[in-house]
Symmetry: D2
Subunit: 298 residues, 4 copies
Amino acid sequence: MADVKLVSLHGRSLDMVPIIRENRYVCVLLESEDNAACIAEKLQQFGLSRVVITVGERLSFEDESFTTGSPKEIRKQRFDRQAIALFRNDEYRIPTRAYGISDERFQQNGSISMTRRDVRALSLCRLALHENSVVYDIGAGTGSVSIEAALACPEGMVISVESDEDAAVMIEQNRFDFQIDNIRVVRGNAPECFKGMTICDHAAEEKVLPRPDCVFIGGSKGKLAEIVDWAIEANPKVVIVINTVTLEGISEILALEKKMTDYQFEMVEIQATGLERRGSYHMHQAENPVTITRISRR
Amino acid sequence: MADVKLVSLHGRSLDMVPIIRENRYVCVLLESEDNAACIAEKLQQFGLSRVVITVGERLSFEDESFTTGSPKEIRKQRFDRQAIALFRNDEYRIPTRAYGISDERFQQNGSISMTRRDVRALSLCRLALHENSVVYDIGAGTGSVSIEAALACPEGMVISVESDEDAAVMIEQNRFDFQIDNIRVVRGNAPECFKGMTICDHAAEEKVLPRPDCVFIGGSKGKLAEIVDWAIEANPKVVIVINTVTLEGISEILALEKKMTDYQFEMVEIQATGLERRGSYHMHQAENPVTITRISRR
Amino acid sequence: MADVKLVSLHGRSLDMVPIIRENRYVCVLLESEDNAACIAEKLQQFGLSRVVITVGERLSFEDESFTTGSPKEIRKQRFDRQAIALFRNDEYRIPTRAYGISDERFQQNGSISMTRRDVRALSLCRLALHENSVVYDIGAGTGSVSIEAALACPEGMVISVESDEDAAVMIEQNRFDFQIDNIRVVRGNAPECFKGMTICDHAAEEKVLPRPDCVFIGGSKGKLAEIVDWAIEANPKVVIVINTVTLEGISEILALEKKMTDYQFEMVEIQATGLERRGSYHMHQAENPVTITRISRR
Amino acid sequence: MADVKLVSLHGRSLDMVPIIRENRYVCVLLESEDNAACIAEKLQQFGLSRVVITVGERLSFEDESFTTGSPKEIRKQRFDRQAIALFRNDEYRIPTRAYGISDERFQQNGSISMTRRDVRALSLCRLALHENSVVYDIGAGTGSVSIEAALACPEGMVISVESDEDAAVMIEQNRFDFQIDNIRVVRGNAPECFKGMTICDHAAEEKVLPRPDCVFIGGSKGKLAEIVDWAIEANPKVVIVINTVTLEGISEILALEKKMTDYQFEMVEIQATGLERRGSYHMHQAENPVTITRISRR
């Protein structure tokens, strides 16, 4: 018998796509009649159409029954509330326990900013994500940070905040390419775009945001202090990681540090220099240095 | 009902400590009479003595029975071969999906080399570990790379190769501090220390080594080419990551690249500069640059 | 006949030590009876005691006469006001047209700050010194910048400002080692130490300072803005070069730039990494990066 | 009376253009009848047409005579062999005792390589030039190193070696823009292009090269070892400075060092990162690191 990931949906909603993407067998204890159909719908939407779904109803009773089908077949059916569904995904991807996906794997264009590979990896490391973390990616650009965070948090959620419409579209494209459901794109500039939205632990509705565990700030449009204020008010234990490429940005951070005496600031400047082959020579290809700041409660 | 990690030991051996460390509930299908006792023994050894173990025998039969106890109590008992054990670990650690553990968290001393945090994180990222990867850490030093690799591969295995006895002892200390069972320390210099040892997929005996998926070379004592040869012979699809701090080391890699035309070499030089607070000022604290090379089959 | 450097002292005072140090033959048109004696005194003081001095009096008149002697002999004699003196220095040093004297050549100790070789060279390059420049070295430390500036400006003057008594003594030591007369040490913190001192083009007295052409600020003790104000008031066309090693220092410079709209700011961050031989390997030895800012009138 | 630079041409040839460019008064003891005319010709050629030339013949004899004129007028005249010429240059340029001319001041185009400002300055510093040094610039590109070396050695000579015809033309253009006569362009690849040419201390003819004091190697077209061999054979006390931008180049230098045990190798890697203003922000603009190696006799 192979390993099985056993998940209960009793009393909570959980995004099943990332879990099924990464496990050959997932056994789900369902709670409502349309649970199986909803999951099947999502699976099809994210290209996981070859998953085999078996729903067992009224197990151990005399009238127990089993239904097996593809997502396309299951998504129109209703089942007993207490049913159990087994998902078999022969094309499951063993999750890489690593950051640093190659830049080329993301859809991108020159005009939308993208955090480059190594800086992205070290920024994500500093967020110290857990499987169920709620991550805000402020100024998400192409979404490369959001994608890696979402892969790292299959039972968590990523909120990608982006004001540029082209960039927001590109995040969606990358989201589909990587078969990631647990990203939600919020269009606008932080923190204004959060106005009028409630924050709570289990956010399901449009006007409700989940409480942030981690906030990554790749771009702040001059509102760094306001974004940090918002994050700390939403969750005083939040971990904030900021990427800075301007001297003025560093000055802003120094000003914040003076004020936020309850929080610890850790700063590092990273420079990655590619050693690229050109003919029979290897040349340096220096990237600009980026300062990564981690803010956490003392 | 909470989530349960379901694991079968039928036909394989698997290190249960990391899995129990990271999950509140683990359900294990046992295969031999002493399986439960062995796991209990290990749990106690690694400080997981407050796990509650329940073994169910002959389930669904009339004479089904349940035994509950601490690791200390269970480790002396024998059970039915087809028993099921449930481990409840209320102190489970949600695994961080990240590298970059702070340098201070490792036991160390000035005379044993340690790969520093950010370079370690980026090196590990390039290894692209999976949950079940077999990783060799050549020239392991304090074992910081081994520790992070072992945490990332709870169902895999790390072989730490180290010729210095003090360093080997320190790896063991760090292994216990982090409650990690899936590290095996091999004393000696690679690749000589592998001589006379067989390589196979499921290594359990002393003179047998598991086939490497990933090899990290932090120090090669002038034997870089030999180590790379050994790794590729052991597994032509191996991923090798090398950290280089000398110009001579880079020359060696260039020579390897010329020869190994079937393999792709990717090189990057990383420089991390801490921005450390001293009184009311932040000063730069430059670390020496390290060149990270990744070798993988084309 | 060899090349001769011909210098007139009519109507001006000029420091002859650096000129004689760098030329085999220097011919000086004297102006007062003790000119030759004063120069002889200085030569002896700076270790140039083997220079041969010939003073010609009432040349082309019937009673023309020649006196030849060592500095020790000449320093006690008086000559005709219109005499001509010829200095022959067989140990003259051809001046190196370069900055970047090795750090080891300076007397130093660990507790007195010293601008390191390459950063010193690039800072001096940005001062764009001429033979006759007046240079202020604020926070002079060991005096390494002062020394190189004084060597570059044999007909100019360097004012070394230093508040630490040990450092001031070390500057004097280095001044003698390099046989440099055109350095004047002012003890105190800029700009307070300049209070009560007049600035004029030809400064000879104690309470008079020469007008700065160039100001190098290696350390400002939190008075950067005040020092810059002082320099610009003393000479609006001054060229200022600032070395910054703290993030706070960079913030101060950004604030200055916003205010000083008539001035151009050019900033560069320099990192020098030595490649040092250790046994049969070359290791990197990273120095901390330094930001060099050049301020000049638009 | 102002300072006068007194130069004798007895028994030697000397390039007078740089000396007149940098001094208001230069007094020259001539040796042949066409000396004054030749200097006048050069002055006109390099745009110094407003210099006033006075030639005094048979001075102190009864028939002494003075001729005053512009370069244009003097270049056709013959004078007594023992004449003295006084050059008055009211537009003389006080020489800057510094390297690091702005990159923009050189004529350049994207396809011809140019050593950038700060690396150029530090490379020149390591050559430790004197006023009369003979410098070879191998792989001269736009000639920026040659120009700065020639300015630093007004009584020396620069040999610019360049195989690309476009680059050679650009060196000539820069030479005229900077009014520099003491550069000689040799077309070809070193060291082949030196074959058949004699080396001697005072080179005046086409097939004769001056003995090198300093050799700067900006580009070696794979002939680094040969160029270094040539330089050391020509002058065992030569100082060689090499700029390297490829990993393979560094390997070549390590191989040289192993062999050349009588010589000292000093290596440093320099990275200059511009901090450029874009709107109201300063962004980093990283240049690729360059390794500078200095080779000198122990």
